[in-house]
């Protein structure tokens, strides 16, 4: 039996002395996508930052493809196969789009040309500095840059946050292509549950650092009660 892509057991982590996550048990198989949901301050970002290696570990384990990465440094986790798209995007603003991509590229199936195929806007803007891009273009660059390290698991922290609706649709189409078309495993944090659930195979809702709902994303999408209770998502009114 092969090891799952990602497995956390009784994971407790936080910032300094403060523990935010209260024993997270999570398993993600290769090629699957997980929607990580919850209200503000419930530990979603802390969980992906813990997987990325940025928080203080208090207990439990993290395994990536069977390898224990619990104590591994963040840069080594990238080499082990984790790509991260942070909420604040964090692109290199003093570098051009092309430099942002090539500076950190690792050998693998994802190349600059493939990234340009996925995000044609970036190709048009390849000579522009990161600081000259719109918010949506910066987000596309952040996703493309994460792909350039050729990860096995992509962590996306609120990729749709603050973007115009037309850009949201464009980015969602690209993300769908990445997870469905390319079979990339991903964990996506998102406030807009109805936007991200159709993209994911599984869903988890966090509350106060613990998992309060775990199931398939299609089940959650159909479960108006759970959406309302845990996320405050109102029922979509039927079209007249």
């Amino acid at each position: 039996m092969t090891a799952p892509l990602l497995a956390t057991r009784k994971l407790v982590a936080g910032y300094g002395e403060a523990a935010v996550l209260a024993g997270i048990d999570l398993t993600l198989e290769e090629g699957r996508t997980l929607a990580l949901l919850g209200r503000n301050g419930t530990g979603k970002t802390t969980l992906v930052e813990t997987i990325a290696g940025l928080t203080t570990h208090h207990g439990g384990t993290i395994h990536l493809m069977g390898q224990d990465i619990t104590r591994m440094r963040a840069d080594r986790r990238v080499a082990a196969g984790i790509g991260w798209v942070p909420q604040e995007r964090n692109i290199f603003k003093s570098l051009t789009v092309e430099e942002n991509l090539t500076a950190i590229a690792r050998p693998g199936v994802w190349t600059v040309d493939r990234a340009y195929s996925m995000f044609p806007r970036l190709k048009e803007r390849r000579r522009n500095l990161g600081s000259q891009l719109s918010g949506g273009e910066q987000q596309m660059l952040a996703v493309a840059r994460a792909l350039m390290v050729n990860p096995r698991l992509l962590l996306l922290d609120e990729p749709l946050e603050g973007l115009a609706p037309i850009i949201v649709d464009e980015l969602l189409a690209a993300l769908r292509q990445i997870v469905d078309g390319e079979g990339m495993s991903a964990i996506i944090i998102e406030q807009k549950a109805r936007k991200v659930l159709p993209l994911a195979h599984e869903a988890i809702i966090l509350d106060r650092g613990a998992i309060v709902y775990q199931g398939s994303s299609s089940d959650l999408l159909a479960d108006e009660k759970a959406l309302g209770q845990h996320l405050g998502v109102e029922k979509v009114p039927a079209r007249v």
């Binding site: 940025l54 440094r73 990238v78 003093s94 092309e98 090539t102 690792r106």
Partner: protein
């Protein structure tokens, strides 16, 4: 938006195309700039045009080398240091002791001094990796102060407060004697400055240099794109220590004297001031700053012998007030059209 299928995406076997593309971009960034075509020929021309100014030109070359080494640490790696003179001083003492007890050939002494400074840099780099800018300032300052006091107390080895003297250097590479007018000394220092700056330039505009800048601007982001910050900073700090050691060795070799003054706090402060004047993060700031600082100091000490430090201090305050956010990036004040003609902003 068009839907992309696997067939639309060009199949690529490995990352060789990306590597070639990255190297092309790197070469574009590292192209020789206009001012580089001016400054080096001018430095060579000074040998013939300013024969009476060899001593001050030697001083400038040594200071420039020291400042270039600090720029690698401060401007590229983002490590603030108030104790860079520790490596300068160790290099100076090593060169003096080596010439006195072992071998008087300067280039050999220079290399030995660089190695010893590099070892000290490597050993102390692990201390400066911890903590924030303030703790780094204190740690680097502390190391320099400790070494200064050790040099002062270990009179049997260093000559104590009187300094180390009574040694003479042999001909450079066994061919060129240090002459009374300082001509060969200047050529020697200029050659070392040129070679070292070219090496530093190569490092700065390599993937390693880019990684350093990434760490400087955001260590977390650097880690999350796979840059091992700790290892990169240790290497950068060690290389800078070697370069500072070279600068110290040059001072000893061109003056045939070394005293605890080479480890004094004011040297660390001076070299920081030089970078403020010249600008950080493009290497040549150290050279421009050293020229400006030395000429200014020389001129002010003639015009107002008693108050020259007052005017230097005032200049520093004005630079900081005028520069604000762009302090140490004065080149941004030059009109864009002019910098484009110069080959782009550094």
């Amino acid at each position: 938006m068009s839907v992309i299928t696997r067939e639309d995406v060009a199949p690529v076997e490995d990352g060789q195309d990306d590597q070639a593309r990255a190297m092309r971009l790197m070469r574009r960034r590292s192209r020789i700039r206009f001012f580089e075509f001016i400054i080096w020929p001018a430095a060579v021309a000074a040998i013939f045009l300013l024969p009476s100014k060899m001593l001050i030109l030697t001083e400038i070359a040594i200071l420039a080398l020291f400042a270039v080494s600090l720029d690698l640490v401060l401007g590229f790696a983002g490590i603030v240091s108030l104790g860079h003179t520790a490596f300068f001083g160790i290099g100076a003492y090593t060169a003096g002791l080596f010439a006195r007890h072992y071998f008087a050939e300067p280039v050999t002494g220079l290399l030995v001094a660089g190695v010893v400074s590099g070892i000290l840099g490597f050993a102390t780099s692990f201390l400066i990796l911890r903590g924030s800018d303030l703790t780094r300032l204190m740690t680097t300052l502390g190391i320099a102060l400790m070494l200064g006091e050790a040099a002062n107390q270990m009179g049997w080895l260093t000559g104590g407060a009187d300094g180390l003297s009574g040694f003479s250097l042999g001909p450079i590479l066994g061919l060129f004697e240090f002459d009374l007018w300082g001509r060969n000394g200047y050529i020697y220092c200029l050659a070392v400055l040129f070679v070292t700056t070219m090496v530093a330039r190569r490092i700065a505009f390599s993937p390693f240099g880019l990684a350093l800048k990434a760490i400087k601007s955001n260590p977390t982001r650097a880690a999350l794109v796979g840059v091992p910050a700790r290892r990169r900073l240790v290497i950068a700090y060690t290389i800078a220590a070697v370069m500072a050691g070279f600068a110290g060795a040059l001072l000893t070799q061109t003056t045939s004297f070394v005293s605890p003054d080479v480890l004094a706090f004011h040297r660390s402060a001076d070299v920081l001031l030089i970078l403020v004047i010249g600008g950080t993060g493009y290497l040549y700031g150290g050279i421009f700053g050293a020229i400006g600082f030395t000429l200014l100091k020389d001129w002010l000490s003639v015009v107002t012998p008693q108050y020259w430090m007052f005017w230097i201090g005032l200049l520093l305050v004005i630079l900081v007030l005028v520069g604000r956010g762009r302090i140490a990036r004065w080149i941004e004040y030059i009109p864009q059209r002019l910098t484009a003609a110069m080959g782009g902003k550094p």
